[in-house]
Symmetry: D2
Subunit: 339 residues, 4 copies
């Protein structure tokens, strides 16, 4: 259920509706829009009688939300959501490029990569300090030490930082050091983690699971919004199929599908999405052309010695070349790469 | 790396090898066998020189483990592992049937179902107190109250209890009330959770993820064993494919595949594996014929009013009939259903 | 649309209904049942008024068929169809085992394999004379020479023969020499071929395509029946998924799914369905337990030198052992292996 | 095996090599290049001694081809193949747009659509006269009558025509009326059909099968080339996965994968690839950005009354708008849409 307030409704009327919703045991979510405010209602186990809200002052209409997800739905909020992270905006006409190594391995490797991607034009930096690895015997990341190196990247290069949290414990650490908390594909349906980042003070980058439908991706985002954190950026990173020329099958049609159903921004990760260095630039170009809000690309100063995901990491010079092509492409699409 | 001790090696010689392994910064895992003891070694980042161990007293041979998983591998332990839970043994010639509702909804519903499945011949009881749900607005389980109801089932009917833990927090509660901790399909690669149950004092039922390969399933089990908990039962519960006549595609060939690669027991969940009540009995029969160590089947006294997974739950009388057919089938396979 | 005749309707009344249907530009399909006859109607592009048929003498009722497939549907024919091939019956309580090499390579190899599988208890012989191969440079089969060898197998060992036709041309040859025409997985939607075998005088073994849904399999069978050939045996042979421990994922739940929707018999091919010799016996056992009407199993006297599919072919002694286990299993299921 | 002739080798030397290859029972395929000629060899069942060819006059070197496909491989031919159809070139810097209805329904519908797509800038016309349909009761195409209508489109609008052949019989008809013979996804491994179009005098458009790997697609193309027809255009049209927001999952990474392995041109079909009208324009844009050689797009003057695939057909005005966006995009990519 969604209460749409009239254009001229004031704060007092909004507060009264919020209070009314709370008083009948439900949960109000105030969603400010550019011309009017909407109030989403969750927590109902059965149908609610819209009448008791429709008659309240300032209420324009009360509409039933037909999708299983509510707060992330375009039915509830028609305009694209814009999310600001350290001066950079996701959503809208800008196009954000996040780059960096799969994992933070050493301070030198991280700072050198940051210098390279910054000069090539990346606007955010990525790097994993907590690595979810298939094998317990693989490199699991530097932990808090890695987070400190990331904080140094931000200080030295002015790049906001994206890094993954893998459990409730690591969220608190990531929240302290980073700008965006990443929830990885394997954790897309780790609902305890989703609820925890829903209470975090940082934007969340939520990656699609390897066999998740678009609806399931949106439902997972709904978990985060329903806890009060509306700063969610989605990410398509490839799904698992029979095809063997790439490590995953990057499903670019998910971008227009999400755009139709939801107001949240969505970016593309062609590095995990293909798992092969030579496929990253063409799929990055396609990701911009299909209408994504940005890209997340793995770059390593020495991919052949990377502790994880070397075969899909770009050399800095490849990334530089790709950025030039993307800038050119952006112009043809009436967009611009955010600097 | 695996150290195989001689048949006549004593505790003192085993202790010395363990000490040696620890002294060079690695982690020993003592794996007792029926005729000899083996000691698995993990924690090495590069190759180890087998010479320093081969010359020690009581050591029969030192072998390299070629699989990415080690402790779960048949290379490391040839005999089938048997896991005892409240007097019931998984692995070996017996066949264990776990039954119960998807979720613990009320005490009455749970106790009545327990009475029915007990009289039909089930030897363990299942029921979810913490439910991982795609939607934040769906019934999420009764939590600790549900666990108390499960404990009552054990007291009143003598059925050991299996129930899911969904995060590090819930493990402690489940550990206190239940006999087997279930890790669900969505959490198969929640590595923090795997490490936590690896330190639990209970057997773990680990379900295959929706798009997990058999190797990934074994790697996830390796996480648990590598923390010291060797009581792991695997479970095939269907994978996600294009096929639409069932909710998932139950991949029974995973049973002989796991049996070949690992010594751990594996059971089949035809309820989630098909998602359709009428497909459960034939796939349960097939699961026994293919060589699984048991079944986990959803039964509900009133499936049409179940709060979750009603369409795949059997009516008690269907379950009773199925148990009769399974007993008949077991005889032809020189097995018997554990009572 | 389906016209169900009364129990006492005679040939004359049936003929009149058939004539009436033809006169309005549609196509009648007489489907004799054990207690009454039904007449399926195809060829309509829009809805037909049932009134003109309901009033005819001998007509019991006229029912609308809701499935997209009609003649293969259980709505149209409730009893299981039984198909007799050279004295062997598919469908019903018997269980038919077809065995033989992937390809007919030489007369010696073929006759020796036939001798072995016959003595182990197989009731039909399989072997490819026309081989659809992924590469144009692979062995494509012996063609008509291979068919002559198969005819010799039938003469010498009394085993009816199943072999594949790969195009309209080869159907005529196969029809001349063999007892059952196989349509392979890659040709499941080769509609010209389906129409041609629909006019053949032989039973057809139709294999499920690698990414075909159960509904599509039934629609392809419908093509054959709609041309007048009602002798269709379906075959589950594995579908393509991400799983890599087998070559295909054998989807045994397709058996109860087909049994519910259609009256046609269905068998299981665990050889192509797994692609690995050691997985064939357990999946064959599971195939019987799940309720299939038979099995098709590849056996080769020298699998390591087979010109195709060696890794999935059983050694004759393995097949012999499997047959013993299947006979034992059949008893527990109140079935018997057809001899 | 591949014989690479020297830059200055003349026709006589080429002929002698061809003769030599034939004389030892193998099959030569002369592949002219811009600077030198290569001669592929197929038909060998075992290894060939390169010595007998290396010593011949004019031979530069003899190299082993390591891929299972040979003639389609970049190892054999490094330059992109260009295929000319009625004055339009596939391959190279141009970008070809094929448009038209799924099926030829009536002369009016077809000519009107042709007029619209011509004026919007399409350079080839598509339309099915033989329709492979899942159901035998669906519209199967107008057959030769449809081909005559397509010939009229070519006459009146100067648009070369692409249409599907579904069996050996229809190839002869299509060859007579059309410019490009399409082999549909369901027939990608109909090897008899591939061999037949390999002997046709027309270019072939080969669509990727629903569950075909890139290697299998190339092997199917190899069938056509090995029969002597080197005019093959490949087409990505989506594969079957669990994802349900589109009818198929359009796998754009297949484009760079094919480009790396083969010299053949490849286009994208976003209409079948998504099955949803609103996803066609973004995926068409992405298809150009990823590096495809062209697009094939379904356009219908009245999609809501189309006899097949209405939901994925663009309205003429949508197509017009898309063409404008593509032209703009092409400039940024240093390409141009072929007119």
């Amino acid at each position: 259920m969604l209460v749409v307030m009239g254009r001229h409704a004031g704060q007092k009327e909004i507060d009264e509706v919020v209070e009314k919703i709370t008083s009948i045991g439900l949960r109000p979510h105030v969603i400010p829009g550019s011309t009017r405010t909407a109030i989403g209602i969750t927590g109902n186990t059965g149908p609610i009688d819209p009448g008791i809200l429709e008659i309240m002052p300032g209420v324009h209409e009360v509409i039933r939300v037909t999708r299983p997800y509510k707060l992330v739905s375009r039915e509830v909020k028609q305009e694209d959501t814009r999310i600001e992270v350290g001066g950079v905006t996701f959503g809208g006409s800008g196009f954000v490029v996040i780059a960096g190594p799969c994992a933070v391995e050493t301070e030198t490797q991280t700072l050198e990569t940051a210098k390279k991607v910054k000069s090539a034009g990346a606007t955010l930096f990525r790097g994993g300090a907590f690595k979810p690895r298939t094998s317990p015997y693989s490199f699991q990341g530097l932990g808090e030490e890695g987070l400190k190196i990331l904080a140094k990247v931000r200080r030295e290069y002015g790049l906001p930082v994206v890094t993954e949290a893998i459990d409730v414990e690591s969220v608190s650490l990531v929240e302290e050091y980073a700008d965006v908390i990443q929830v990885g594909a394997r954790n897309m349906q780790n609902f305890s983690l989703l609820k925890r980042v829903g209470r975090a003070q940082r934007a969340v980058l939520l990656k699609r699971g390897m066999s998740a439908t678009v609806e399931e991706l949106l439902m997972s985002a709904e978990y985060i919004l329903s806890e009060g954190n509306y700063q969610v950026i989605l990410c398509e990173r490839g799904v698992r199929t029979f095809a063997d020329h790439t490590r995953n099958t990057l499903d670019l049609s998910a971008i227009p599908a999400v755009k139709r159903l939801s107001h949240l921004p969505i970016i593309v990760d062609p590095s995990h999405g293909t798992g092969r260095r030579d496929k990253v630039p063409p799929m990055a170009m396609a990701g911009m052309a299909v209408g994504a809000d940005g890209l997340m690309i793995e770059v390593h100063i020495d991919p052949d010695r990377a502790l994880s995901d070397g075969p899909q990491s770009l050399y800095p010079q490849d990334f530089d070349r790709l950025m030039q092509r993307l800038r050119h492409l952006a112009m043809a699409l009436d967009r611009s790469i955010t600097e």
